[in-house]
């Protein structure tokens, strides 16, 4: 593209072929025989309504319509010192090829709430697959162009985020994130939800439980475990009522043998943590099937979260639903508050219990199942 060829005319470098650029307030003003300031004030329709005569108002509005005036958003935002932009930054691609891994449910809520509040969203592509601005240590810096930013994903670079937060940049993390002092976040109340699920199982009569969880210490996992344990306590059960089993690879780890072992110990209810891939849940179901267990006749299963999308045609797991859409909306609300300078406290979002079809009363008498059962 031609750079500084023509010495004159600084603005509008190359882009346009537009001969008739769209009208400015100044032109409307001229057409209406008033000043630019008048046009601005009238079009902004300030509440001090009586400030202008109806005559003038009419002239301006007519002229604006006549000329097809449309305000320049860039100028508007520049003058107003904010741009009504909220950033969304995820450290994996926002739209991964496999939709199951995406933040889609969150984004639904984010978009709705942002729209309701008159914000537009900036999707920072910095992180996605080998993008241009990808690696740079200041990749995160770009988010400053928005009035505030939402962060998604597990592996956000702490240092840079800390910097943003320290600068007073409004930032909200979707999902709990305590380790970064001062970072606002919204999260689901996994503790309560986990407690509730265990409570329901206990109500059904179960007395011994196993929790299968991931082997890292993400808050989402830790909270679920805590809820699991609290549920036991709340049900008046003692310590060995619950076994917490950590597994880095449930598929090879949750073997029929192990399952039988637990059954032999009197376990009747199995609780799996929801993971990205649903591995724990899959492994559990597979083990049950292999073992010939009928669910929920011979054993009850619960899933602390939602089942993977590809299992949607199977039996609905007992467990809870994470209100992802609401979470997204709540995050935007919180972020909007921060941007506005208020520092609202956003409570944890409540998960809703999902009765499902995989839990029932425990078998009064444990018997080794003989035949292949279906679920």
């Amino acid at each position: 593209m031609q750079e500084s060829k023509k010495p004159s005319r600084r603005g509008r470098p190359a882009a346009q072929g537009a001969r008739t650029s769209r009208p400015r307030q100044a032109e409307v003003a001229r057409a209406a025989g008033v000043s630019q300031a008048t046009v601005s004030l009238i079009l902004a329709d300030k509440k001090d309504g009586a400030a202008f005569s109806d005559e003038t108002r009419r002239k301006v509005l007519d002229a604006a319509r006549e000329l097809g005036y449309v305000p320049d958003p860039a100028a508007r935002r520049l003058a107003a010192a904010r741009n009504n932009l909220l950033g969304v930054f995820s450290f994996t691609a926002t739209f991964p090829t496999e939709m199951q891994h995406s933040y889609y449910p969150f984004l639904v809520g984010v978009e709705q709430e942002a729209a309701a509040r008159g914000y537009d969203l900036v999707l920072f592509t910095g992180s996605s697959s080998g993008g241009a601005g990808a690696a740079g240590p200041d990749a995160l810096g770009r988010v400053r162009l928005a009035d505030g930013c939402l962060f998604l994903g597990r592996h956000i670079p702490t240092q840079e985020l800390r910097r943003l937060v320290a600068d007073g940049f409004p930032a909200v993390h979707l999902g709990r994130r305590d380790e970064l002092e001062g970072l606002a976040w919204v999260g689901a109340d996994y503790v309560s939800a986990g407690r509730e699920v265990v409570g329901k199982l206990a109500d059904l009569g179960h007395r011994r439980f196993v929790l299968i969880r991931e082997d890292d210490d993400a808050p989402a996992s830790t909270d679920r475990e805590q809820g699991f344990l609290e549920g036991l306590t709340a049900a008046g059960l003692d310590h060995d009522a619950g076994t917490v089993h950590r597994s880095a690879d449930p598929r090879r780890d949750i073997t029929p043998e192990r399952l039988r072992g637990w059954l032999a110990e009197g376990v009747t209810a199995f609780v799996a943590e929801e993971t990205d891939t649903g591995a724990a849940w899959r492994a559990l179901r597979a083990a049950c099937r292999t073992t010939g267990l009928q669910v929920p006749r011979d054993a009850s299963l619960a899933l602390l979260g939602s089942p993977p999308a590809d299992l949607s045609h199977e039996a609905v797991p007992t467990g809870f639903d994470i209100p992802r859409t609401q979470l997204g909306a709540a995050a935007v609300r919180l972020l909007a508050s921060l941007v506005a300078g208020e520092d609202a406290e956003e409570p944890l979002v409540t998960c809703t219990f999902r009765p499902g079809e995989t839990a029932g009363p425990p078998p009064s008498v444990r018997q080794q199942p003989q035949a292949q059962g279906d679920m």
Copy 2:
């Protein structure tokens, strides 16, 4: 910079409690001990490289990094430059609650290509469900904040878009859109794809066809019909080889009676257009099932597009796949060209034939099926 008076504070209306607003070029300049103009020039990194001493350059860059400087997109825009932002404007919510209706597959490509070219994306929420800025006749005007904008969806307000285009604003529509003179678009080559499908069916021996299409005249429908007809011609068949059936509500329209009627006329291959809901395809399958037809033994079915997601566990329809991800990427490429001032021609994107399992040779002898068949 101190003005004569300072009591007023006009900018920054009420918004911030921010002690540290994000840094401006002026602050970088102060930190580096140079002028704002120097900062601007150095950060712009003009090719007249030797213009600044390495010393100065380094100081400026360091200061900028130190302070976390990020240019204000609005100001950049206003000063007639680029801001590396591409807009995405969809006239239904970009993230509808039901994911099947979403532009997700397109967005995957859009994000990838945008990232690869160093653009961030602005999702304009103007249109989504009851948003704040929803109705306003200038809802579209906001996109001017970005360097260019992508438009998705069937029902874009033509008037406003025309205005943008007339003003020389870089705009690309995803999907064919001829009626708006001068609007760039990228689309799938439904004509060729439709022709190919019919060709394959003809190769299998089919001689009489029915196309079930929507009753409006969207380009996507018209193109498919054209492809269908061209396919017949290419196969050396005459006019009455193909029946085009328009249906506004296939579910009630494609009755078993009607199906039998067509069969009686010697039709052996049924081609359905892909629609949002997959209604035509569903209706066709349902009618076959009710009639007891076995597919593809008794009749062949083809779908001009992809099946609805919830039918993913059924037999794969013969037909073609729309390369949505590639389309999204192509749209971004085209838009980027426009922004750069080039006016590249982007060809139609080719759909790929999908063999599927619903087409086979026609029955040599037509017989009324007696028993319930499965598909």
